[in-house]
Symmetry: C2
Subunit: 350 residues, 2 copies
């Protein structure tokens, strides 16, 4: 009998952060694709778009006028999924129909006044300003008694449901801890109780020894394709020091965070020579007043592209009914990302 070969053979991998499994089918990467193609984003945009509701000085749908901001700009989402004033209440029928009122805050963070930029096209100091906004927002919202979890994220690209190319992210902060952070809290707490250190510290140690899934490093951060990555080019951006949230990062760690984000997103853009779409976001401790020593801050990048600027991975059928499945291995994806230059292709062309 041949030996177990992760690079060739169908197998399952365990995600210790969520406690769930995924199916890996490496041999399947070469099947022909005749399905839907995405439109690659190679548009050249103006630095200021008078019809954009995020550009400085423009008027939004609710009549408010954006200031002439020069760095970042944060405002309450005009169409927030969560609102602070929701009256409390619950519904229960037979233990099977269960609902409860939810309250919270939705905000938009403009990363730059420039309509035509994206994170990989911004400088490290400009990205550092965004990191500082994340920290200030987490501190402000997390201190509120009615907020127990703060989700900071970015949807980039039309294929990720982003309706405006102006560089921006969002915050959804709420009373309860949603499903995924709750699972990660539980898994990390169990590990911390048993081992006296964070799960992701121990994991990072293994990955730094193995090197096969590491994409890039700096003094304070490591970017890797996690062993259990579900999306083709999914990555985890991990601080070497186990901090619970972004406010605890030192000045040097914040600069290094910006550096890691910049270098990763440049590699992403270079991979298929396109403005690489993704959803990305921070996972941090719940702001429920508990100390959460088990929590190790990290950032997930979930990009949908699989083979080119136009062919994506579909999480459908089997994935929606059974569990996530991937074709190319995390090791192969990491190697592809390692091979990219850290000079953005647009600059290399210029």
């Amino acid at each position: 009998m041949a030996s177990f070969d992760l690079a060739q053979q169908p197998h399952r991998r365990f995600n210790p952060l969520t406690g769930e499994w995924l199916l890996v089918s490496p041999h399947r990467a070469l099947r022909p694709w005749q399905g839907q193609q995405e439109a690659p984003d190679r548009t050249q945009r103006p630095t200021h778009d008078p019809t954009c509701y995020l550009c400085p000085g423009n008027t939004r749908a609710n009549g408010e006028v954006n200031p002439a901001y020069e760095g970042t700009f944060v405002f309450d989402n005009d169409f927030a999924a969560l609102t602070p004033d929701a009256p409390a209440g619950t519904l229960e029928m037979g233990g099977l129909l269960r609902a409860e009122a939810e309250s919270g805050v939705g905000r938009v963070i403009c990363f730059s006044p420039r309509h035509d930029l994206t994170l990989p096209e911004m400088s490290t100091p400009e990205i550092r300003r965004v990191v500082d906004v994340w920290a200030a927002q987490f501190a402000e919202l997390g201190a509120r008694p009615d907020i127990n979890y703060v989700q900071i994220f970015e949807n980039k690209g039309a294929v990720m449901g982003c309706s405006n190319p102006h560089p921006h992210g969002q915050i959804w902060a709420q009373r309860t801890v949603p499903g995924d952070p709750a699972k990660e809290t539980e898994q990390q707490a169990t590990y911390f109780e048993q081992h006296g250190r964070t799960l992701l510290s121990a994991y990072l140690e293994i990955e730094l020894r193995e090197q096969t899934r590491v994409v890039l490093q700096n003094e304070h951060w490591v970017v890797l394709v996690p062993f259990w990555a579900a999306w083709p080019f999914e990555t985890l951006v991990l601080p070497r020091r186990p901090v619970q949230d972004v406010t605890q990062l030192t000045d040097a760690e914040r600069d290094a965070f910006a550096d890691a984000i910049r270098r990763l997103t440049i590699r992403y853009d270079n991979l298929f020579q396109t403005s690489f779409p993704y959803s990305a976001g921070l996972h941090q401790r719940p702001t429920d007043g508990q100390p959460h020593p088990e929590w190790h801050l990290h950032m997930h990048f979930f990009p949908p592209l699989l083979r080119s600027a136009t062919v994506r991975k579909f999480m459908v059928g089997y994935e929606l009914l059974a569990n996530p499945q991937r074709d190319i291995t995390p090791e192969y994806a990491a190697q592809q990302l390692r091979e990219q230059s850290e000079v953005h292709y647009k600059q290399a062309e210029a």
Copy 2:
């Protein structure tokens, strides 16, 4: 303080089948949409396409020739994600990197020789033939000692990653029980132990009393938008009698299953006057040799469209990092589906 209003106010709902929560933001349905638009599928296709690898008599990628089939046709997937011959094996590092070999079978089920049809355009006896194939396949694969779970599903439409419009579904059958059916097994088992009947029997009783989420019924089946639906027009197709798998359905129950599928998918097509995309699939007992009295067979439909043939729901950012979120309520979705005719719009036009 105003009272708790599910139709107007942000809230969370619990999914008793998976034990997870979702966020509902009913007030958000009216925000403007300037993002990606899908191409509605209104193509008129030929009854036989010489370039289609699923049509009768055509040659597939691996050189095999399809028979001149007149009803359904099942074959082993030429690019299966699972293969039966995978050697066993495991990998483990520090309890954090965990993988194990997985084996299984992938099959394709052609629903009809007609390239231009879809389930809602087929007759009830033609759909009944598909139900019989599901039963035969479940019986055959489920009996194998190396198969402990059989996932039968259909991806319909380019937006759901379907690369060939010829009406067909798939089977992925494997050694282990994947995540979602494992969760449903656990939740149903807990309920069954406590109450001596299936969770979905008790749930169905509540929904038949409430009526607000019921879409259609016949003697043996009920189609409803579950209280915890995540996708805008998600439905659950539920037999009144708690059977564990499709082989246990009587002749009359199989006819009625075909009738329910036909009437539901016609309503779907009529909703936005388009060939309505979805992923759909059966959830049934694991085939692990246990009796599983807790299991209540059901079929999930997960359609992505939200507002029209071109505007879909994106499960991105918050949904990938926190938990699923929906805008329109399940009650509103059920009402929309109830208002549709059961005569297909193409026939009504003809």
